[in-house]
Symmetry: C2
């Protein structure tokens, strides 16, 4: 499969999963955390699906489209491993992480710290959505909605 085909499938899975969980997140208190703002397309989508909700977005550097930049205070620049650690205990209702690189060795390093960070950002009952699997005792894997094949994008609940 070409990388374009697989990218379209991954973005579609991301969107379908976020739409699926946003219905539940809308009924839960707590901010949303976006790890990897990038171009800001997912941030824009979340802002539309969860109007009025605080969304704190993280990236190494600002590279987002002008229409998709969080207001001051909700944009945190620097290495996520360090910057997001300062928000541990924020009791997020939703953490979304799309920080895979397409390089297995780099993603393997990320998987050594990302699941624990996400578990500590979430409130109990809160939801994690991620492009990479999150192996952690406090993150219980949930089944994706029917449109999403297994192992394309991942959902877990903080227990």
């Amino acid at each position: 499969m070409s990388r374009l085909d697989s990218f379209i499938r991954r973005m579609t899975a991301q969107r379908d999963i976020l739409d699926h969980v946003c219905a539940e997140v809308a009924k839960m208190e707590g901010p949303v955390v976006e790890l990897g703002l990038g171009n800001g397309r997912t941030f824009h989508h979340l802002r539309e699906r969860l109007p009025g909700r605080r969304i704190v977005a993280f990236d190494r550097a600002l590279a987002a489209h002008a229409s998709s930049i969080p207001e001051a205070g909700n944009l945190v620049l620097g290495e996520i491993r360090e910057t997001a650690s300062r928000f541990i205990g924020i009791d997020a209702a939703l953490v979304h992480a799309d920080i895979g690189t397409g390089y297995e060795d780099r993603d393997a390093v990320t998987s050594t710290w990302l699941p624990d960070l996400i578990a500590r950002l979430l409130r109990v009952g809160g939801i994690a959505v991620s492009g990479t699997p999150l192996d952690h005792p406090q993150l219980q894997r949930l089944a994706p909605p029917p449109s999403v094949p297994a192992d394309r994008y991942f959902i877990s609940r903080r227990v």
Copy 2:
């Protein structure tokens, strides 16, 4: 519509249009020109759909995934307006351009030089596929395949 939704639709339109025209391009002589290599996903797709065909890719700077970098001689870095001008007369069978920025003013500037550049890169009968409309007397707009709504992604033939 969120920028994520519209991005998924645009990428899907791009893929469907390229798949549609590649059947015809496969029967035509001439290289492929990729204006805007980016992450290299479309380059990867074209290489899969047109095995063995020369694909010359242009970008301001190299930002592609390691799996999607053209061999030396087929990667041209710098401002496309200048670098691709040196390839006028190459008689390309297909030119693909995905260099829209999401900023209307910048894209308006691009549309002052891109259509003429593409017309001069293509052979007569060659095909242009673009994320922005190409208004030019030598580029005849073609209807997209049925899966693609009008005005999402554009096809023209060099007359």
